[in-house]
Symmetry: C2
Subunit: 142 residues, 2 copies
């Protein structure tokens, strides 16, 4: 757990919709949420914000460095709290559950490979799409 984020420090006015969205990521049960996920969760808890605002806020939070955006194969973006530590993802094909991992070997190999070809890495995304072999897969939905 890290210290609560203050929107002010991020250069963002502290508004109700922003606080609600931020709260979802800080205290919600899911780390990785799409705009639609956020919108529905807020509606579900009575806190209604406009869908346009959700999209706007997510993008603002991303630009402010509060959130990180991912593209997990498919059309919609997924966001998660930026805890400062880069990691990659395993996405379950059956239930969409997301598990995180970090592998120093993979990371350094990437840098090496890029360097050998005359590139300096700016960013990268590594997503593993897999099936649960263990029976912990509750099946369906993130």
């Amino acid at each position: 757990m890290s210290q609560p984020i203050h929107l002010k420090n991020a250069g963002l006015k502290s508004t109700l919709p922003r606080l609600k969205v931020l709260n979802l990521f800080e205290n919600g049960d899911e780390r990785h949420l799409s705009a639609e996920d956020v919108y529905k969760k807020l509606l579900g808890s009575g806190d209604d914000v406009g869908l346009a605002t959700v999209y706007r806020v997510l993008t603002q939070f991303e630009q402010a460095g509060l959130l990180v955006r991912h593209h997990f194969e498919g059309d919609k973006s997924v966001f998660e709290l930026n805890q400062g530590k880069h990691h990659d993802h395993i996405v379950c094909i059956q239930c969409d559950r997301v598990e995180e991992f970090y592998d120093a070997t993979i990371e350094s190999r990437q840098r090496k490979i890029a360097a050998e070809r005359g590139f300096s890495v700016q960013d990268h995304s590594l997503n593993i799409y897999a099936n649960c072999t263990k029976l912990k897969c509750p099946n369906k939905r993130i």
Copy 2:
């Protein structure tokens, strides 16, 4: 170079639009093409096909295993000829040029990481977004 692909063998009727699209991938100068790229290239060479057909054919080719689809950060899908050998990509942020690489260590590490967590890898995508440090970057456009 591999032997020319016969649509018949892929269970696909041999039609003009399909042959034109296939030809672009087999004899064109770009390995990685979006639907729009394909559409514009065909229009440019006088071979006009409908945009709907382009999308349909690309999806069919993907399902038939002739093409592989990638999602290089951003909204549009990119396709390339399936030459049977898996590889990952470095995408230049400045010119969108795509370079391919394969690293056995990274590949096996992925499998190991997934296995340790009870997953069996079905697929994965690893894209490195980087800047050319060498001056070979002609800047802009795939």
